[in-house]
C-alpha cells in the first residue's frame, strides 16, 4: 500500500509560537487516518498546510509519491471545523459556485450536485437561502460541497460536531462509502470513540510535535498491559482464591453506572506468560457466574490521555 500523502519535517513558526515542530507523517492510500491531539496542538495548522492554505517554514509535502503541486488541491476535499456558507446565497447556487471553484465544469457540477441532493433527500432546498436552514441542514450541504469533486484525499476536521446521532450515522456511512470507493480520509477529532470505530491509522500531535503514530491495532496492543477483565456475580474473595497462583487480581469499577449494584468486576494480571485463557475461564466458571470476560485492551481515550500526559511531563528538548 503506497502513501497518498507524506509530510516530512514540517515546521511552522508564528510570532513567538511554534505551531508545528518537525512533524512528519505518512497517510497510506485508502486508509482512514486519525489526526488527534489536544486543543491548540497544531492540528489545524497542519491541515491548512496540507491544503496549501499556508506554507510551512520548512519541510516538504509529497502527494502520490511526488512533491505536492498547486493543482493537487483539486484532489483534496476539506471540511473545516468551523463550517461556513454564504448566508444570503441560495443553496443550489452556492453549491454550484463552490463546486466550480474546485474545478468542476458547470454541467458536471450540476449533475453531481443533483445526485448528492437526491441521495440526501434535500432537492427541495435548492432555491432556499442558507439562513433559512437549520444548522444540521447546512452541515449536509457543506458535506456535499466537500466531496462533490470526487477528491482522492478527504480531510474532515471534527466532522460529527453539530450532527444528531441519526445524521452522524448517515455521515459516517457516507465517509466509509467514499473510502470503499477508493478515497483516503484524514480525520481530525477529539471523539475517541469514533476514532476506534473508523480509523485504521492515527497520529497524535501534542505541543506542536508528533508524539505517537501508527496503525490503531498495533498502538492499542503495544499500549496493552496483558490483563483480562471479568464481570460476574458472586463472591470476589472466593474468585481471587480460586485464581491463586495464576493471576493477581485487582478490583475494577463497573463500566456503566447502571451495572454497579448488580455486577462485580476484577482485573486479572497473569503472573507468567503462557497461561491459557481457557484455563482461566474454566477456573472462574467454577466459582462465579460469568457475565463477561475479555482481554483488557486500552481504549484510544486512555492512550490519548496517557500519551499526552507523558509528553507533557517529559522535559522539553
Amino acid at each position: 500500500m503506497s502513501d497518498i500523502l507524506c509530510a516530512r519535517n514540517i515546521v511552522k513558526q508564528y510570532a513567538g509560537h511554534r505551531a508545528l515542530d518537525d512533524v512528519s507523517l505518512s497517510v497510506p492510500e485508502g486508509s482512514v487516518y486519525g489526526l488527534l491531539g489536544p486543543n491548540g496542538a497544531g492540528k489545524t495548522t497542519l491541515i491548512r498546510i496540507i491544503n496549501r492554505i499556508t506554507a510551512p517554514d520548512s519541510g516538504t509535502l509529497e502527494f502520490d509519491g511526488r512533491p505536492m503541486r498547486a493543482d493537487d488541491i483539486y484532489r483534496i476535499g476539506y471540511l473545516p471545523e468551523e463550517r461556513g456558507l454564504y448566508k444570503k446565497m441560495k443553496v443550489g447556487e452556492q453549491a454550484l459556485y463552490l463546486a466550480r471553484l474546485k474545478g468542476l465544469s458547470r454541467a458536471d457540477a450540476r449533475a453531481q450536485l443533483e445526485k448528492w441532493f437526491c441521495k440526501f433527500g434535500i432537492m427541495g432546498w435548492w432555491d432556499r437561502k442558507i439562513d433559512e436552514l437549520s444548522k444540521g441542514m447546512a452541515q449536509k450541504v457543506q458535506f456535499i460541497v466537500t466531496v462533490i469533486h470526487r477528491p482522492r484525499l478527504l480531510i474532515f476536521d471534527e466532522p460529527f460536531s453539530g450532527f444528531d446521532p441519526i445524521n452522524a450515522q448517515l455521515l459516517r456511512d457516507e465517509i466509509l462509502n467514499l473510502r470503499n470507493e477508493g478515497a483516503t480520509v484524514i480525520f481530525s477529532t477529539h471523539n475517541m470513540a469514533s476514532v476506534e470505530e473508523i480509523c485504521d491509522h492515527i497520529t497524535l500531535i501534542n505541543k506542536s510535535r508528533n508524539i505517537l503514530t501508527g496503525p490503531v491495532d498495533e498502538i492499542r496492543r503495544s499500549w496493552g498491559t496483558g490483563t483480562y477483565r471479568v464481570d460476574f456475580t458472586g463472591d470476589p474473595t472466593v474468585l481471587a482464591a480460586a485464581l491463586q497462583g495464576l493471576c493477581t487480581t485487582e478490583e475494577a469499577a463497573p463500566e456503566a453506572a447502571a451495572d454497579a449494584g448488580r455486577l462485580q468486576s476484577l482485573l486479572l494480571k497473569p503472573e507468567r506468560d503462557g497461561i491459557p485463557v481457557r484455563e482461566l475461564v474454566g477456573r472462574i466458571n467454577e466459582t462465579v457466574e460469568i457475565h463477561g470476560f475479555r482481554e483488557s485492551v486500552p481504549s484510544m481515550n486512555d492512550i490519548f490521555i496517557k500519551a499526552v500526559e507523558a509528553s507533557n511531563d517529559s522535559p522539553e528538548k
Binding site: Y14, A15, A55, I76, Y78, L85, Y86, K88, K102, G103
Partner: protein, 428 residues
C-alpha cells in the same frame, strides 16, 4: 487559475447587483438628482400662475397709479371711486381679495401705498403691485420734470455689462477657435466629479470591507481558500465590486442624461428659458471635452478605487465585526477626507502648489486630479499622476494581500495596526 478569479468576480457581481439595496439606490439616485434639478424649473413654470384670479380693489386718490395697473398673473385690479371704509363693506366687493389704497401725494411720497387683504397676501402679489406702482410713479415723475427726451436719456444711462470668457489654447489659431469657457461650468463639473469619486471610493470600499468581514465571520473563507489562493479571492472581490460600481455609474449616466434631455426638450423648449449658467455649461460641453473627461474619470476612479479597496479589504480581514473597524479605518479615511477638504481649495485656485502636489500624491490624486481636470491640466502631470497611482496600487495591494491572508484566519483578539503591519512579514 484565471477561471477561478473569473468565478469569484462573477459571484461578487451577481450577488451585489441582485441585492434590493443596489437596485433601489440605482433607481432612486437619478430620480433624486433629476428631481433636484427639475423642481425649480417646474416651480418657475407653473408655480407663478395660480389657478384662480384674485380681485384687488384700487382706491386711488392720486389718480396716478390706478390707470397704470395691469391685471394679469392671477390678479385683477378693479378701480373704484368709493372711499376706503365704504368700499370694504360694499356688497359688490364682498368677494374681493384685498384693497389697495393709494394716497393723494403718492408721487412725492411713494410710501403712501397700503394693501389690505382678507387673507395674508403673498410675496408674488406684493412685488407685482410694488413694481407696477413704481413704474407708474416713475413715468409721472419723468413727465413732471418736463425735460424733453428725458426718458430716452435715462434709458441710455442704464449700464448692463456681460463678460464673455475665452480660454486661450495653444493649438487654436485665433480668437474664434478659442473655446468659450465658463468658470462656473468648470467648477460644477470639477466639484461633481471629485465628489462622485470620493463617494464611490467610500461606499464601495466600505462594501468590500463588509464583504470580507462577512466571509471571515461566516467562516466560508476557509472553504474558499482551500480551492483558490487568498490573493485571488481578495482580488476577485475587489474587481467584482469595481464592475458593480461602474455598472451603477453607467446606469446613472444613462438615466440622468436621458432625463435631462427630456426635461430640456419638453420643459425648457428654447435655450433662452434656460438659466444663463446652465446655458453656458451646456455650451462648453463639446464632444472632445466630454470624451477627455470621461476617460480621465474612468482612469482615476478605477485607480483610486483599487488602491483604497485593497486597504479596506486588509482592514476587513483583520476584524470579525464591523464595529471593530473604526480605529483601523483611520489611516484610510484621513487621506480621503483630506482630499475633499483640499478639493475646495483647488477649485478656487487649480494651479496652486497645493493643488499640484495633492494631484500627484497617489492617495489624494484620484480626487484632486479629477477636480483640476476641467480647468485644464498639462498632459504630463496627468500621466505622472496616473502612473504613480497605479504603481502605488500595485505596491499597496501586495502588502494588503499579505495582511489579508494572515488576517482571515485570526480570530479572537482585535489586532492593532502595528500587529497588522507585522503580518506583512509572515511567510504565506
Amino acid at each position: 487559475m484565471n477561471s477561478k478569479i473569473t468565478l469569484i468576480i462573477q459571484r461578487e457581481f451577481n450577488q451585489r447587483v441582485r441585492k434590493r439595496s443596489f437596485i433601489i439606490s440605482t433607481i432612486l439616485m437619478p430620480i433624486l438628482m433629476v428631481g433636484i434639478m427639475a423642481v425649480p424649473v417646474l416651480i418657475a413654470m407653473y408655480g407663478s400662475s395660480p389657478s384662480s384670479t384674485r380681485e384687488i380693489v384700487v382706491i386711488d386718490s392720486s389718480g396716478v397709479v390706478a390707470p397704470a395697473l395691469q391685471s394679469g398673473q392671477g390678479i385683477a385690479f378693479t378701480p373704484t371711486t368709493m372711499p376706503n371704509d365704504s368700499a370694504r363693506t360694499a356688497p359688490q366687493y364682498s368677494g374681493a381679495y384685498g384693497f389697495l389704497v393709494v394716497g393723494p401725494q403718492v408721487v412725492e411720497n411713494p410710501s403712501e401705498l397700503t394693501l389690505y387683504t382678507r387673507e395674508s397676501s403673498t410675496l408674488a402679489i406684493e412685488s407685482n403691485i410694488r413694481e407696477q406702482a413704481r413704474q407708474a410713479i416713475y413715468q409721472k415723475r419723468v413727465e413732471q420734470a418736463d425735460v424733453p427726451g428725458l426718458d430716452s436719456i435715462l434709458q441710455r444711462l442704464q449700464v448692463r455689462t456681460t463678460l464673455t470668457t475665452y480660454l486661450l489654447n495653444a493649438q487654436a489659431d485665433g480668437g474664434e477657435a478659442a473655446k468659450e469657457s465658463s468658470s462656473a461650468a468648470s467648477m460644477v463639473v470639477s466639484y461633481a466629479m471629485g465628489f462622485i469619486i470620493y463617494m464611490f471610493i467610500f461606499i464601495y470600499g466600505a462594501a468590500i470591507m463588509q464583504g470580507v468581514i462577512e466571509e471571515k465571520s461566516n467562516r466560508i473563507v476557509e472553504v474558499i481558500v482551500s480551492s483558490v489562493k487568498p490573493f485571488q479571492l481578495m482580488m476577485g472581490k475587489i474587481v467584482g465590486m469595481a464592475l458593480v460600481a461602474l455598472t451603477q455609474f453607467a446606469i446613472w449616466v444613462v438615466l440622468i442624461g436621458g432625463a435631462m434631455l427630456a426635461i430640456q426638450h419638453f420643459a425648457l423648449g428654447s435655450a433662452d428659458a434656460m438659466p444663463a449658467e446652465l446655458a453656458s455649461i451646456v455650451k462648453s460641453l463639446d464632444g472632445m471635452y466630454l470624451l477627455k473627461m470621461t476617460g480621465a474619470f474612468l482612469i482615476f476612479f478605477t485607480g483610486g478605487y483599487l488602491l483604497y479597496a485593497s486597504m479596506f479589504a486588509a482592514v476587513g480581514s483583520a476584524v470579525e465585526n464591523a464595529q471593530d473597524t473604526q480605529q483601523l479605518q483611520l489611516p484610510i479615511t484621513i487621506p480621503l477626507i483630506l482630499a475633499i477638504v483640499v478639493m475646495m481649495n483647488v477649485m478656487r485656485d487649480p494651479t496652486s502648489t497645493v493643488a499640484f502636489w495633492f494631484s500627484i500624491i497617489p492617495f489624494t490624486s484620484p480626487i484632486i486630479m479629477i477636480a483640476r481636470m476641467p480647468y485644464g491640466v498639462p498632459a504630463w502631470e496627468v500621466a505622472l499622476s496616473a502612473v504613480l497611482l497605479y504603481a502605488t496600487f500595485l505596491l499597496i495591494v501586495s502588502l494588503a494581500a499579505k495582511i489579508y491572508r494572515t488576517g482571515i484566519f485570526m480570530y479572537g483578539k482585535k489586532p492593532t495596526l502595528a500587529e497588522m503591519l507585522r503580518w506583512i512579514r509572515y511567510k504565506g
